[in-house]
Amino acid sequence: MEWSFIDTWIIVTGMLSAMSCALLGNYLVLRRMSMMGDAISHAVLPGLAIAFLISGSRDSLPMLVGAVGVGVLTAVLIQGVNKLSGLDQGASMGVVFTSLFALGLILIRQAADHVDLDPGCVLYGAIELTPLDVTTLFGWEVPRAALTNGLMLLVNVGFVVIFFKELRISSFDPALATTMGFNSGLMHYVLMGLVAATTIAAFESVGSILVIAMLIVPGATAHLLTDRLDAMLGISLVVAALSAVLGHVGAITVPTWIGFRDTSTAGMMAVAVGVLFLAAFLFAPRHGVIGKMVAQGLLTLSINRDDILGMLYRVRELAGKGVAAVKAEDLRNALKTGRWVRLALMDLLRNKMVRHTPEGVVLTARGLTAAANLIRSHRLWETYLCDQMGFCDAEAHYSAHHLEHVTDEEMQERLNRAANYPTQDPHQKAIP
């Protein structure tokens, strides 16, 4: 891999545009309008073309004005069609943005005679070429695209910082925002205008795919990782920056593994952010698939452990002074939870709650205390359910069976008090 200043500038430009998109994208994700980012970034095409046709140049300012105008117009049209026609949000979005896109294609085809404008360039961008188009800033040579996107990022950060409270309230509860005197409708259109401006700033350098990816995916990833808005904003920025780096590195390394020189950086950035999203989807501590599975597994394990302890205790009680060993096989047959029993037994052995004897598994002193505690919870619940609530049939046993796993010390004590300090449960078994 050969690294040059060009690669550095590509990454810087990519990071700046990705971060400015990601920042606004958080609010799109929270407002459940992610596809609005897609719609606007397609619909700005006619805005671009009209700006071209009128100004006859590729200057940034007319394009920006055209894009913001069409961006806001798109938002207005979508809401108008949605409200007037009774079509759902998705369908009205689809109708509006595809029509505008088609209009844009036609206009661009006409504009192609005047100015050099390639729809392909708009779609994929040409981030690889951005470092070649430089301008001077304080005596430094800086790529124009990096400058534009940097400015856009500053504007977006300023907007989010100044209107943090308003944006938050109008994203989570537009009705509340209205009663508090903010105009959440206005907030919506300002946000849409900014999205369009950001889209256009990023378009020039990185193309529309990356814009859509960076608008939606970092925010979605951050949403999986945290419940706090400020943390979400921070995480999304990190994800965006990281995927810019990974994307470009990937674009110049991954193809070499299979014998090619390189591939589209914008495409690989989208792939990189997709990989980060997948990682969050799987491994996020609270909302990730694996995280949820692990939490569920741990719960199943602890319930099985409790059930084994309870069973060993009951056998010991029945056997009186005799041997109270139970074969592991019998445990498995009785509890009917298959391999979980073996896992739970292993866990109990490791914690020295039970031990193996030739006759089978028996409780240790430590295990006995834990088991007694559990049985105490179970029988207290049974007594309470029967005496206080008149719930004495077999069903009560099952309810107690569920509740015993989630009863802690304090609850046990209160239960004891509520049930008038019983010594025997409804089945005349002693409460330990």
Binding site: I50, L87, A91, G94, L105, I106, P174, P255, A270
Partner: protein, 490 residues
């Protein structure tokens, strides 16, 4: 959902002014751009027009038949998509096909030497469309993200992957990847006979299957839970329906391109909704709108150089949509405005009749007014004005209408009086009002002081049947007479 803008009137005024300015500016710039475009359009001669209209060119014939059938197939399958509220899923699905196309191209180039076998590319596209759809469902099911975020994530990441793989494909020494771009933008004008044939087969298939599974599809569109309780394999039918959409999308990809095929799936059924709410009619209309868009769009594009066919087809569909939005018979704006206007006229008329009646009633102190209009006690306009929250302007207009219909007449001193016909009408209106009041008091335990408001809102929509029902439930009231008001009159 989108936040609702506040309903403060000052803000609304400001906003509508802003909106109008924006629209004007937008149209002005579009018109200006259009003027520039116009210089470059070559208008067809009559001869060319005839050639296209009679489908004399082989090329034009293939293209027009192809796009027409594609519009038909998309219109049919799109209807179910819209009804299942999955319009944007088609967008995600069509973007997600790109990596499949690029991968299929690379694999075929490596294995066969030539990457551009249509069937192979389409198979790759279909596989990734299904993968993309499943990814959306998985994200929705197993994470806290909502539908929109799942769609957006899958769309952009798959499309990015597609671009990255395309990047590799275009750098391959062997094989020529230039044609792959046609899947993104479409290549309507250079459609081959094989493409048109494929589209025709797909359209036939889609049409036949839509007819065959009409009952099942309509069932899961309108009430999937009910279908499940009736024992229908909802998940499988749903999957089958989505497969149809995938097939039409993939086939349409290279005809009109990635984004515009989405338009063909969404816009015609949305248009059909403005003309009928019956599924069978909607299906037919949607197919017709789709086919018409395809035919007209391709025709225009064939007539004028420099107009990309895919875009013109979509703009044709969009024009049909906006026409229907305004003029449609079910939910069209004009129709709704007319209905609202006539209802407000009716409400105004009935309110006026009742106010005048009650005015005279309280003036005579004699209970029911006889069948002769009373000449002396007519109110002036200024006296009627404070009785309800109506503006002087609308009251004046209402009174003028009353006089024009000869239900009231104005005396020289500006007092309004019933004519015989007007009094008869007013008795009916007041009777309706009081019947409902009596009903509220006897059957809904409402306090007599509060029934006026309740009756006021509903009296305008009580029809003959309900009146008869009310009469049978309130036996104490003499038929055809106006009952006494249960509360004090103003």
């Amino acid at each position: 959902m989108m936040p609702m803008p506040p309903t403060l009137s000052s803000l609304a005024g400001l906003r509508s002014a802003l909106f109008a300015t924006l629209l004007t500016l937008g149209w002005a710039s579009i018109a200006h751009a259009g003027g520039l475009v116009g210089e470059h359009l070559q208008w067809p001669t009559l001869q060319e027009l005839l050639r296209v209209l009679t489908l004399r060119d082989y090329n034009t014939r293939v293209v027009i038949v192809g796009t027409t059938l594609l519009g038909l197939a998309a219109g049919l399958t799109g209807t179910f998509l819209i009804l299942r509220k999955r319009a944007l899923l088609s967008d995600t699905l069509s973007h997600a096909t790109l990596p499949g196309i690029a991968l299929a191209f690379i694999v075929m180039t490596l294995l066969l030497g030539d990457g551009k076998h249509l069937i192979g590319l389409i198979a790759g596209a279909a596989i990734f469309a299904v993968l993309g759809t499943s990814s959306v469902l998985l994200i929705q099911r197993y994470s806290r993200l909502k539908n929109d975020a799942a769609l957006g994530v899958v769309l952009s990441v798959y499309f990015g992957l597609g671009i990255a793989i395309m990047g590799i494909a275009t750098r391959m020494a062997s094989g020529n990847a230039a044609g792959l771009n046609s899947f993104i933008y479409g290549k309507t004008a250079s459609m081959l006979f094989a493409d048109a044939l494929l589209i025709a087969i797909t359209a036939l298939l889609a049409g036949a299957l839509c007819l065959l599974f009409f009952k099942e599809f309509s069932l899961i569109c309108f009430d999937a839970d009910f279908a499940a309780t009736q024992g229908w394999p909802v998940a499988r039918l749903d999957f089958f329906m989505m497969t149809l959409v995938v097939v039409v999308t993939v086939v349409g990809l290279q005809a009109v391109g990635l984004i515009l095929v989405v338009a063909l799936l969404i816009i015609p059924p949305s248009t059909a909704r403005f003309w009928s709410r019956r599924l069978s009619v909607m299906l037919g209309l949607s197919a017709a709108f789709g086919a018409a868009s395809g035919m007209i769009g391709a025709g225009i594009s064939a007539l004028m150089a420099n107009l990309p066919a895919g875009a013109v087809i979509v703009l044709t569909a969009a024009s049909l949509f906006f026409f229907s939005l305004v003029f449609g018979t079910t939910g069209g704006l004009l129709r709704m405005a007319m209905e609202r206007f006539s209802l407000s006229r009716k409400v105004m008329r009935e309110n006026l009749l009742r106010e005048l009646y009650e005015w005279q009633e309280s003036a005579t102190q004699a209970g029911e007014i006889g069948s002769e209009p009373l000449p002396h006690a007519g109110p002036r306009l200024e006296e009627l004005l404070p009785r309800r929250s109506w503006s002087a302007h609308s009251l004046k207009r209402g009174l003028r209408q009353m006089v024009r219909n000869r239900w009231m007449e104005a005396t020289d001193s500006g007092r309004y009086l019933f004519t015989t016909a007007g009094l008869e009408l007013a008795r009916g209106v007041v009777r309706k009002h009081r019947l409902w009041e009596a009903y509220l008091i006897t059957h809904a335990d409402t306090a007599p002081g509060q029934v006026d408001w309740g009756a006021d809102t509903i009296e305008h929509v009580l029809d003959e049947r309900i009146i008869a029902e009310l009469e049978s439930r309130l036996p104490g009231l003499a038929p055809q007479k106006v009952p006494k008001s249960p509360h004090l009159l103003r």
